[in-house]
Symmetry: C2
Subunit: 111 residues, 2 copies
DNA sequence: CTAACATTCAACCAAAAGGATGAATATATT
DNA sequence: AATATATTCATCCTTTTGGTTGAATGTTAG
């Protein structure tokens, strides 16, 4: 099993609409911090912090050219999270169907 | 587009190893609060709070029988989150491949 | 050199998260 | 009725989060 910290960071980073919007923007191509911040009403600094969260989760990579920081989207963490979710959903969802689960519950309740 | 609040709550609830462990336990069948809390070193009350977070995200349903509260896992939010992730990953990941993205970036940089 | 620009750093703040403990509530057992 | 059990409620504490503003840093342009 892979370190759960990574998954924590990925899911936490994705659990915010601002950050998802940032990622969506970056999925269309590289952009500078100011460009990324432009559509939002919040301050540039606030966006800068969101970017930091995304970087910590490795969902965004930064490339510095002079005074400009180019941000790009990295797909690996989302792929990993998707993989975890698919596997988990399969395991939690279909392996025990409703009837099986009911039987097991009854069995446990009479122990 | 579906309300982002739901997705927020689901992802936030999943972004914690304790809560994922609780869900894993419940995926094997119903359990009471005390049973769910038993494996953890933290206090019962702390677990109770985690359960509340999971309920808010509709990942856990509660059925009260006398003084006992039976908790059960609900698969719908995880299914919805998986769906969102799959779609998003497809959209962000494969629709623009590396070359396309590179061209677009160069184009944007010369505007 | 100086001015403008891109970005972060440093405080500060309010709210939420994650935990502990002790009291309260409701139900079951004797 | 008295006690034990299952669970939450109410406080309190510390850390994190998400936001603000103002200053600092580094880079480019005039």
């Amino acid at each position: 099993m892979s370190a759960p910290r990574t998954l924590d960071r990925t899911l936490l980073a994705l659990a915010d609409p601002t950050r998802r919007a940032i990622l969506q923007r970056l999925s269309k191509g590289e952009a500078r911090v100011t460009e990324v911040a432009q559509p939002f009403t919040m301050s540039l600094n606030a966006v800068s912090k969101h970017i930091l969260v995304l970087e910590r989760a490795k969902l965004v990579k930064r490339r510095k050219v002079g005074r400009e920081h180019f941000l790009s989207y990295r797909s690996e963490p989302l792929e990993a999270a998707t993989k975890w979710m698919d596997e988990t959903r399969a395991f939690w969802g279909s392996r025990l169907d409703a009837l099986e689960r009911l039987l097991r519950e009854e069995n446990e309740n009479t122990k």
